[in-house]
Amino acid sequence: MKLIQNRKNWVWPYVAILVFFVVLPLVLIGIYAFTGQQGGFTLQNFVQFFQRTEAVNTFIYSIAIAALTTIICIALGYPAAYFMAMQSFRTPAVMAMLFILPMWINFLLRTLATVELFHMFNLPLGEGALLFGMCYDFLPFMIYPIYNTLQKIDVSLLEASQDLGADRWKTFTKVVVPLSLPGVYSGIVMVFMPTVSTFAISELLTQNKITLFGSLIQRSFGEGGIAMWNYGAALSLIMLIIIGLTSFFGSNDNEDINRQA
């Protein structure tokens, strides 16, 4: 009984999950990435990656596609979040719900539905379809954090800006946009991170015509057999570093959000 009564003990199941499903795999990736097929420390896996132009090109292409998706999501998501946060909507909660609703459905199902949609309208699958699918899947992740920061902006700040002589547009560019940047940053992280590593969406929406970095990793483990595991681990590590860098970029701004609140 004492074991349960002491609330500190409640943490152990989570610690166990973290150790087995997060820490241990990470350690294994690290070990595999730096070992050759015969064992022993080597940098060969990384050298192999940088020597294959095809692999490096895929890597750059993936980052470019992810960046483009992020930019499109900002362009579509910011206005949506802005209008939702404006007082003029009587039921912003309903609007927010409608934007969040697609997230209730598994993204694989949504992607499959998108494929059917393209077939129905006789549209070619490929790069365009890929961008469309990724934006469709990840747009809510951009809207929500922006909506959150916009909603928290004190109305009196907008009034103060107008009072000091700024018209609506100047108030928007000089007060609203700077104050909503933390939300935009978290949106970037939330969209860029998953899109840079996705493989299912690209496989379905381009019928394997376009290979993204995520697919490359998946193939190394799935199709390449045990021989490719070390190479795959090295690729995973490279991607981890990229994602780590973007989330570092985001975490700084999360502190800003907390400080404001």
Partner: protein, 478 residues
């Protein structure tokens, strides 16, 4: 011909979507360079009035003139007024310098000119060394100073201040009050200041505008508002006071506390019911002599016993219960211990006589069958004797005296339910204003103690409802 008013508010009303009036036919003129304070309890419409002048809210009817120009529908950024907001509203993403320079940068002013002016404005509010500080790192008082600097740097013709000192502690507040007053005199800008603090209003203003429930009750100099309040609400809201029911016997003679008093007020007619206000510090108080040693030409007017005595720093505040049952608030530099017998005197010029706004509750309704009458959307029983004079369906005027309305603890026990909106102590009873759920007002005199916001049931005994025939010719002569 041009008058010298910088702001003219003409018959402005503001109705919100739910149909409630935040402002109800408000008119106000402000002269150039004046320091005007709009004073009232929360929800009286004072902030709405300020926001209409600033342009954040548009009046439903009426118009607002600035320098003789109609600005009723002009957006705030095109008005030559600036606002100091209640919670400062400093931009958190900008530092002190950038906050103050915000308005000038919008005007596309030369950078060196901006710097010169920002430095001058910051010096004016004694914040010179804080230019590059984050606004979040400043104390409340410092943020307030930055907010003032940000507003005055644009050299507005009118500075609007929305309870700017309400978030500061007492000591800080009185310091800032002096500084604001100094700043006003130095800048020569017209100040319109909104507050619920009557002391602040009396200290700062050239003129005070007292508001209540969207209406202006009185406009005047601080001394006039204090010494000659025109209604019992103003008297009660501005400082402590004794407000008593009285009868004006004739010019210069008023009857209250069961005796006649000489006064200086005239023109109320003979035997008219009025209210009198006596400030606690206007009573002269002395130890009462024993019955036997009282001489004939004794000047003392009332006798009583001290109930409580509280030290207030400079003076003592005492509650005296007179021998004929009135409770009076008295202030004096000398303390009279509770239990001691005292005599009271008030000079004729210290008695302020006010017209009563209403002598009894008046309603309009329709006769029903079975000795009943309908008014305030409810059906009430009336006595048979009264009812037989009217036909069912006939329109009637109804009168009920303040003291004949019965308040019930439980809403369900009353014919009608409502909320206590305002309480006035009248020496020997309370005068309450009850707002019914339909928004009608009923006034009640009672000896029971109620609190503001209490929910009550309202009952009226049938015999106390007086009915009158509607005088038709009034509407015909229109």
């Amino acid at each position: 011909m041009k008058n010298d008013y910088i702001i003219e508010v003409n018959h402005v009303s503001k109705q919100f979507e739910d149909g409630k009036f935040a402002l109800n036919d408000v008119s106000l003129q402000v002269r150039k360079g004046e320091f005007v304070t709009i004073l009232g309890p929360s929800g009286c419409g004072k902030t709405t009035l300020l926001r209409c002048i600033a342009g954040f809210q548009v009046a439903t009817t009426g118009d607002i003139l600035l320098n003789g120009e109609d600005v009723t529908d002009t957006p705030p950024n095109e008005r030559p007024v600036n606002t100091v907001f209640q919670k400062y509203a400093l931009f958190p993403h900008l530092n002190v310098y950038e906050n103050v320079a915000f308005g000038l940068k919008l005007k596309k002013m030369e950078p060196y000119e901006i710097e010169k002016r920002v430095k001058r404005a910051l010096k004016m509010v004694s914040m010179s060394d804080y230019e590059y500080r984050d606004v979040d790192s400043l104390s409340g008082g410092q943020q307030q100073r930055v907010a003032i600097a940000r507003a005055i740097i644009n050299e507005p013709e009118v500075l609007l201040l929305d309870e700017p000192l309400s978030a500061l502690d007492r000591k800080m507040r009185s310091d800032m009050q002096l500084e604001l007053r100094e700043m006003h005199d130095k800048l020569g800008i017209t100040f319109i200041y909104v507050t619920h603090d009557q002391e602040e209003a009396l200290t700062l203003s050239d003129r005070i505008v007292v508001m209540r429930e969207g209406k202006i009750l009185q406009i005047g100099k601080p001394t006039d508002i204090y010494n000659e309040p025109q209604s019992s609400f103003v008297a009660d809201f501005i400082g402590e006071s004794n407000i008593l029911d009285a009868v004006m016997v004739k010019d210069g003679l008023v009857h209250f506390c069961d005796r006649d008093f000489e006064c200086v007020d005239k023109g109320f007619g003979e035997d008219t019911e009025v209210d009198v206000v006596i400030r606690p510090e206007d009573w002269y108080i002395s130890e009462a002599k024993t019955e036997s040693s009282k001489s004939k030409d004794e000047p003392w007017q009332l006798y009583g016993e001290v109930k409580t005595c509280i030290f207030k720093g400079v003076h003592y505040h005492m509650t005296v219960l007179t021998d004929n049952g009135y409770e009076l608030e008295v202030q004096d530099y000398h303390a009279f211990e509770p239990g001691s017998k005292v005599a009271l005197l008030v000079k004729p010029e210290d008695i302020q006589v006010m017209k009563k706004t209403q002598l009894c509750n008046t309603f309009h309704g329709t006769m029903c069958e079975d000795n009943q009458v309908e008014f305030l959307d409810e059906v009430w029983d009336v006595s048979e004797r009264t009812a037989e004079r009217f036909d069912p369906g006939e329109e009637v005027d109804i009168e009920v005296d303040f003291n004949h309305i019965n308040l019930q603890d439980y809403e369900e026990d009353g014919t009608l339910s409502g909320e206590v909106l305002f309480i006035l102590y009248k020496g020997d009873h309370y005068h309450l204003q009850i707002r019914t759920d339909d928004g009608d007002d009923i006034y009640v005199d009672t000896n029971d103690i109620w609190d503001k916001g209490d929910r009550v049931g309202i009952k009226i005994a049938p015999s106390w409802i007086r009915l009158y025939k509607v005088e038709k010719n009034e509407t015909d002569t229109k």
